[in-house]
């Protein structure tokens, strides 16, 4: 990976944020900011903090669709958030946040949050275990990868790890998990690229001594692994302790909040100058099959407490980083192994679902909500799921490209396909200048079908710009039924016939994607 120098930026000095349909772009002016950036370390010192919400977060109650409130309320009347209590976002009317997420709301209105709607993948898996593996390895739902997406990225930068590490070029851990177990996301081809710590200063010294050679047997393999860990623990202890020692005071964090405690450690290490690029923290309890909200007041209850905890922790983290003058180095994202069912159950909870929104935060993150409110059927049944608008690997690809300045060809080897890139992070972060395309699809019919409802066949029409065009068809559970279009087009209007005579009746979604644009069209097959 070559070091990149930041370009001296000579474009117009537009310092005020530009708003394009609620999606704001920071176009930083010349001199002070960029001088600071270019005289800073020539190496890209950007950090990504991943916040795993374990259990399957109910995204539909985290980002509530105000423009579809009637349908939302009807689908889950026993747990729907009261319309008046939904937190409003500046310059954006279509959705709002759960009432307990005042911290994230404030960050959004300060221009530091991007919300991406309905993130998922084709034919989603509904088991925690499998779905988590999919998100962490970046695999398709019908394949198994034994490396993590972040592990593969780190492998492109630090090939051969751990042999020869740490060294003067890479003295610090490549990735850190706050906790005791290293996430599979960090699994590289040879070893895990990450280390686990539960505290910034609590380590234990091991004795180095004679070690016998390892035979070519099962126990030899395990012995070799254990010795490797023993060595690793020793190597990074000094680097981590040295960084931690440089930070002697931090801002306030909420009490009794395990996520806040983890983020506090991250802030300390980042501010202390540790060169580690990736951090993973996690918080659980999101598998809300029952009693998600309080009966009397749906804005309160178990899920409200969880979201409030996450929001407060993120806000405290961002404030602390600002106070430590380290906030510009950090981008954070939340994710969960799946969202939950549109229709609630009688236990005042929700069962496993599919797509859900993601929150991305940071000084350089472009403010806005990407995508439309989740598509809801007029009358939800127990099997209906939120159709995906964006693939989760697009999120990874976008962050890798815009924040870690990863080349397009390298991106493809990490994620194994060319995923749609979304404008999540300000273009100046990687020294590239991007103009923001108009991504809103309000009032535009980029994909339609007729007749609708239909019996066996329907004609689908789409309008595309240049470049690759993708049309996917999903059923209401999220299962990928077909990919009728996936090729490069000249700009124009195109039609094809969708043959559904072998498919059961019900709701289908046609998802259109071209460049950074997408639109989902609900279709109904009847008798």
């Amino acid at each position: 990976m070559k070091r990149r120098d930041f370009l001296k930026y000579t474009a117009p000095a537009a310092i005020l944020p530009t708003l394009i349909n609620g999606f704001s772009v920071k176009a930083f002016g010349a001199s002070p900011m960029l001088d600071a950036l270019s005289t800073a370390s020539a190496d890209n010192d950007h950090v990504l903090v991943m916040i795993q919400m374990t259990g399957g977060n109910d995204g539909l109650n985290m980002v509530i669709p105000l423009d579809l409130y009637g349908k939302y309320q009807a689908a889950r009347s026993n747990i729907a958030i009261q319309e008046g209590k939904v937190l409003r976002l500046d310059n954006y009317l279509k959705s709002g946040l759960h009432p307990s997420m005042t911290g994230v709301q404030k960050l959004y209105n300060d221009g530091k949050v991007s919300i991406v709607q309905s993130v998922g993948y084709p034919s989603p898996d509904f088991s925690h275990f499998r779905a988590t593996d999919i998100w962490l390895t970046g695999s398709n739902s019908n394949e198994v990868l034994t490396t993590g997406w972040a592990g593969r990225y780190l492998d492109t930068k630090y090939p051969g790890f751990p042999d020869g590490y740490p060294n003067t070029e890479a003295p610090d851990p490549l990735a850190i998990q706050i906790g005791s177990i290293v996430s599979p996301a960090f699994q590289g081809p040879n070893a895990s690229m990450g280390i686990a710590i539960t505290s910034a200063t609590d380590f234990y010294n091991l004795i180095d001594g004679i070690t016998d050679p390892v035979p070519n047997t099962k126990w030899g393999k395990e012995l070799e692994y254990i010795r490797l860990i023993a060595k690793q623990t020793n190597s990074y202890e000094q680097a981590i302790t040295a960084a931690a020692k440089k930070v002697t005071s931090q801002g306030a964090y909420p009490a009794n909040n395990s996520l806040a405690e983890q983020l506090k450690i991250v802030a300390r290490l980042v501010a202390g100058g540790l060169k580690t690029k990736l951090y993973m923290v996690s918080t659980g309890g999101f598998d809300t099959h029952a009693n998600q909200t309080e009966g009397g007041d749906t804005s309160k209850g178990g899920h409200a407490n969880l979201l409030g905890g996450v929001s407060d922790a993120i806000k405290a983290f961002m404030d602390d980083l600002k106070g430590l003058h380290a906030s510009r180095r950090v981008v954070g994202m939340t994710f969960s192994e799946f969202g939950r069912r549109i229709k609630s159950n009688y236990s005042m909870g929700t069962d496993h679902g599919a797509a859900a929104p993601i929150i991305i935060f940071g000084d350089y993150v472009n403010q806005g909500v990407l995508g439309n409110s989740p598509t809801l059927p007029d009358s939800s049944s127990v099997i209906d799921n939120i159709p995906m608008q964006y693939d989760f690997r697009s999120i990874y690809a976008s962050i890798l490209e815009q924040w870690f300045c990863v080349d397009q060809t390298v991106l493809k080897s990490i994620l194994r396909e060319d995923y749609q890139r979304l404008p999540l992070v300000s273009g100046v972060a990687c020294g590239t200048i991007t103009s923001l395309p108009d991504l809103s699809t309000d009032g535009k019919k980029l994909i339609t079908n007729s007749p609708n409802p239909f019996t066996n066949y329907t004609t689908i029409t789409y309008i595309t710009g240049s470049g690759n065009t993708l049309v996917q068809i999903f059923d209401t559970t999220g299962r990928l039924v077909g990919v009728p279009v996936n090729k490069v087009h000249a700009p124009g209007t195109y039609t094809f016939t969708f043959d559904a005579h072998n498919l059961p009746n019900g709701i289908y979604y046609a998802r259109f994607q071209n460049g950074a644009i997408q639109q989902v069209r609900p279709m109904l097959k009847v008798n």
Binding site: F129, T146, S180, I181, T217, I226, A230, T233, N345
Partner: protein, 544 residues
């Protein structure tokens, strides 16, 4: 090669630590007829018990292989239940009396009772007789998971432990039914809220995915199967006064439930009234017809007791025939374990010493290996047990609270499996625990008496024999002469000339002659402490 390891990376990507480079074996479950000696005995004992004491080794010295396995597979009676070791109990349980049938307490009290339960359970494992029963309770806890933090009812949790205990070496079908109706499980996976009209799928899904057929390549249950199962299970409720489960006929879905081709398209007729509860029996009958059930469970047993890697040869030579035995025995656990523990595969040298000790093996094992004494009064006894539990939890194995319903990652997360127990956070914790135990002040009230341990060995005055005999008990793998010399010369002989073994012999004999003499005792004890500390700090100690 692990079945799940699709090669999805580009072919020229070089993997230096692939399973392909390791010596493989084709041994199966035909009965073992080879050498039956110390090596095999200790292997069997360390896999079926938590650590092995010199006393265990002595007892089993006189037993044949089948006698040894028979002894180890004998079910044990229920132990005495946990008691109030926390003091004030608003529901009236006096200190020293048991709380397991008392009324539900408030949040504070329940927390104390759960702590009492966890200490008690740890104590049962530490005091285990020479039987696999305690390990099977832990195995089933990792399979039919509940978490105390989500059940929030100490009486239910204790009852759940009894359910596991009762069937641990019995019949797996009976166990599955008992767990489905267990009050703690009904709370944990929302079964007690499952009602007709809008069934709650939580338990239904896990019944297939985690408890019976699993989610491997040969498991093809469908989402519709999950929904149908949820409807079969509607209506069960819990009784917090009598600590049992009940059946509410008004909440039961009485429609017919149809299953997929994976389950032979069977249909369960909906039944009204109290008969509705028997739909569970119909359901289990259908599920257990599926051959994959036996295989799934046998793979789990294999991973827990033998090794994590199930290559094609192991699947064919071990799992498949073992599953046949399991299935044709009507799902009898003891019969199946007997076949596994008397097999060629189990005693194949290539399959020994390769299991990384779980925190249970490590923490409870060290207590049993060295015979660490615990207090005899229950207050201090529970305190000591709680220290051990706390250490295991810090090393990622919190008995009673696995991280998720799938159990501890080390038993299911590919590709690392048991390597997940060992990382840059937990390895130092293991080292610090044993270093503390072997030091002069001990670890939170627990201490290894190195003199007592050495004194049990056949020839402790000879430093060469002392090192060799200690390693026989503490390690599963052989070590080089260079390492043994280092241990003797640098540690026992404090760096004196290597041919001066008599320095140690003299010191040992002097102490034995005047055991009360503080200086003489100190001479040998400091060296023994350094010796065992070093032995336990090396990576070899982590293998079982």
């Amino acid at each position: 090669m692990d079945r799940r390891q699709f090669l999805t990376l580009s072919p020229d990507r070089h993997q230096t630590r692939t399973a392909n480079t390791i010596a493989r074996t084709d041994s199966g479950i035909t009965p073992y007829t080879g050498t039956w000696d110390t090596l095999q005995r200790i292997h069997l004992l360390k896999r079926t018990l938590f650590g092995v004491s010199p006393a265990n080794i002595n007892t089993f010295n006189s037993l044949s292989m089948q006698q040894a396995v028979d002894t180890l597979l004998t079910a044990q009676p229920d132990p005495a239940p946990p008691v109030n070791n926390y003091g004030i109990d608003a529901t009236g349980v006096t200190p020293g009396a048991t709380w397991v049938k008392a009324p539900l307490g408030d949040e504070m009290l329940e927390r104390k009772r759960i702590a009492s339960y966890k200490a008690w359970w740890t104590g049962q494992m530490i005091n285990q007789p020479a039987s696999i029963h305690e390990k099977m309770v832990l195995f089933w806890h990792n399979h039919f998971v509940t978490e105390t933090g989500m059940v929030n009812d100490s009486r239910f949790i204790y009852q759940y432990n009894l359910t596991l205990r009762k069937h641990a070496l019995g019949n797996f079908r009976d166990l599955t039914k008992a767990i489905t109706l267990d009050p703690a499980m009904l709370v944990y996976l929302n079964g007690y809220l499952n009602s007709k009209g809008a069934a709650d799928e939580n338990y239904a899904r896990e019944l297939h995915e985690l408890f019976t057929v699993g989610k491997g390549p040969d498991s093809h249950y469908t989402e519709d199967d999950v929904r149908a199962t949820a409807r079969v299970l509607t209506g069960f409720r819990v009784d917090r006064t009598n600590i049992v489960s009940l059946f509410d006929t008004t909440q039961h879905d009485i429609t017919n439930k149809t299953f997929s081709s994976f389950y032979s398209n069977k249909v369960i007729s909906g039944k009204t009234g109290t008969e509705g509860a028997t739909e569970l029996d119909d359901l289990l009958k259908i599920i257990f017809l599926q051959p994959e059930v036996a295989k799934f469970i046998c793979r789990k047993l294999y991973r827990f007791f033998v090794y994590y890697d199930i290559d094609a040869a192991t699947e064919q030579n071990v799992i498949t025939p073992l599953a046949d035995i399991f299935r044709s025995s009507g799902y009898d656990i003891k019969t199946t374990l007997n076949a596994l523990f008397t097999s060629e595969h189990f005693f194949d040298p290539l399959n020994m010493a390769c299991l990384i000790k779980s925190p249970a093996d490590f923490c409870i094992g060290v207590c049993r290996e060295y015979g660490i004494p615990f207090a005899s009064d229950y207050t201090n006894q529970y305190k000591g047990w709680a220290v051990v539990h706390d250490r295991a939890a810090a090393m990622l194995q919190n008995f009673g609270d696995p991280p998720l319903v799938a159990g501890w990652e080390a038993y299911h997360q590919a590709p690392s499996f048991h390597e997940l127990w060992i990382n840059t956070d937990t390895l130092p914790k293991r080292n610090r625990f044993t270093d503390g135990l072997v030091g002069s002040t001990g670890f939170n009230g627990l201490r290894i008496d190195t003199l007592a341990f050495a004194n049990q060995l056949p020839n402790p005055q000879d430093p060469v024999a002392l090192v060799a005999d200690s390693l026989d008990i503490l390690y599963r793998v052989g070590v080089s002469v260079a390492l043994k010399d280092f241990l003797k010369n640098t540690i026992l002989l404090s760096g004196q000339a290597p041919d001066s073994n008599y320095y140690w012999t003299q010191a040992w004999q002097a102490w034995k002659a005047s055991p009360g003499d503080a200086t003489l005792k100190d001479n040998v004890e400091t060296r023994l402490q350094a010796l065992y500390k070093y032995i336990m700090d090396l990576s070899e100690y982590q293998l079982s």
